[in-house]
């Protein structure tokens, strides 16, 4: 088990909870003596100032989405639980606080994200919920996996954003899948499940998605598909390179798009 998973398990045990809905995040934060305030922040989404047994989280008042707010607060709780005793000293040779922070705290940021994902969607429970949703809605498994319907149910059950549900689904490795994020029409990151290893070399980061992909269409038209149309057929070559002996088989793509942030995330999987 990784440190964030161990930390979440301990937190759950200490508070006598088995799922996030058992106790509100606000109660846990207050119980841990963590004061939360909203303020205008220029250069970050949130920050936490910590002492041994207390902390202050300041979250940007621009964050209006409650699910995003919850993820951010869980992320900061992760810092408090895992990192409050790590003191890395800033020296006079460090140019600015920003550069010092960026050079020294990358790992902690990743750990805090893993903590938030595990806290909001514990891996074992996540797997259980996926199975139970598929059992209750057999149509999800008919005609290839219907990920949009499954993702809706998961996001609703855990009360998280679609983005968080997408990434957790990839993490948990329940079905071979890859997630690709695009910002302003350019591929900015991708993440694949452990059982989806064959195609990762094919991605071109910092380039626009290929025209056959749904992401490309979404950026061109400024709208994403809705309802039953969310699951779109695409040729494998829309995202992956195909070798000479490789036929251009069919894949699915489900793309969500935020016009406000110029951001899209696609889930791509085989039928």
């Amino acid at each position: 088990m990784l440190l964030p998973q161990i930390a979440v398990k301990k937190l759950y045990d200490d508070f006598g909870i088995v799922k996030p809905a058992d106790l509100s995040l606000d109660t846990i934060l207050a119980c841990k003596n963590i004061f939360v305030r909203e303020a205008e922040i220029d250069g970050a989404e949130a920050r936490i100032l910590m002492r041994e047994d207390s902390a202050v989280i300041t979250i940007s008042n621009r964050i209006q989405n409650q699910q995003k707010r919850k993820f951010i607060l869980s992320h900061e709780l992760g810092h408090f639980v895992m990192h409050r005793f790590n003191q890395l000293m800033l020296t006079d040779t460090d140019e600015t606080f920003d550069s010092w922070y960026k050079n020294n705290f990358v790992d902690q940021e990743v750990e805090a994200n893993l903590f938030a994902a595990e806290y909001l969607m514990p891996s074992k429970l996540f797997e259980k919920v996926c199975k139970s949703v598929c059992k209750d809605h057999p149509e999800i498994l008919r005609d290839g996996l219907d990920l949009p319907v499954l993702m809706d149910a998961i996001a609703r059950y855990f009360d998280v954003s679609m983005t968080a549900a997408f990434l957790r689904f990839v993490d948990c490795g329940i079905h071979p899948v890859i997630a690709v994020g695009c910002k302003d029409g350019i591929v900015s990151w991708f993440k694949w499940s452990s059982d989806f290893p064959h195609y990762i070399h094919a991605f071109n980061r910092h380039l626009p998605p290929r025209p056959e992909s749904v992401a490309s269409e979404v950026f061109k038209n400024g709208i994403s598909y809705s309802g039953l149309e969310r699951k779109q057929w695409i040729p494998k070559s829309a995202w992956f390179s195909t070798g000479s002996r490789d036929r251009d088989s069919t894949f699915y793509e489900y793309c969500i798009y935020s016009e406000r942030y110029g951001y899209s995330i696609s889930l791509i999987w085989e039928p």
Partner: protein
């Protein structure tokens, strides 16, 4: 006298012994092991509920201190806005690099720490001081109460 006292306690010891060591004494009690009730599950569930209730009570107690901190923020923001000397001095002190790092701040999606962000962190730092002070006050009040009840 000594022997009589010891003698009078014997039946009770016998009774206790029989309860502890002789299963016959439990014959009338329902045997939970053979019934469908899972005792471990019930104990586990109630332990969890107890922990949750305790967390809620602690959270409520801390929320009262948070209210005091909120009032402080308003005063502090006004002080900084109006350039009150005491707050200005505090700001200069806290914005020196080593002090700033001692606060061990961590950020979410940090791009840069602007001047106004730094000033706002001063408020965070003062809230931490205040929370600590209020906690100490509560502790000493509790200790005083405990001492006076012991004397009583």
């Amino acid at each position: 006298m000594k022997n009589r006292t010891q003698g009078s306690l014997l039946p009770q010891w016998d009774e206790l012994f029989s309860i502890l060591y002789e299963p016959e004494a439990l014959r009338d009690e329902p045997d939970l092991r053979v019934s469908s009730i899972n005792v471990d599950k019930i104990v586990e569930k109630n332990t969890r509920l107890f922990l949750q209730l305790r967390a809620k009570a602690n959270a409520e107690a801390n929320s009262a201190r948070f209210e005091a901190a909120k009032n402080f923020i308003v005063k502090m923001q006004e002080g900084l806005k109006n350039n009150v000397a005491a707050y200005k001095q505090l700001a200069d002190e806290i914005l020196s690099k080593p002090k700033f790092a001692q606060l061990s701040p961590m950020f979410r999606n940090l791009d840069q720490v602007s001047k106004s962000d730094s000033l706002d962190m001063l408020i965070d730092a003062k809230i931490l001081d205040l929370l600590e002070q209020l906690q100490n006050d509560v502790k000493s009040e509790f200790n005083d109460d405990a001492a006076s009840s012991n004397r009583g």
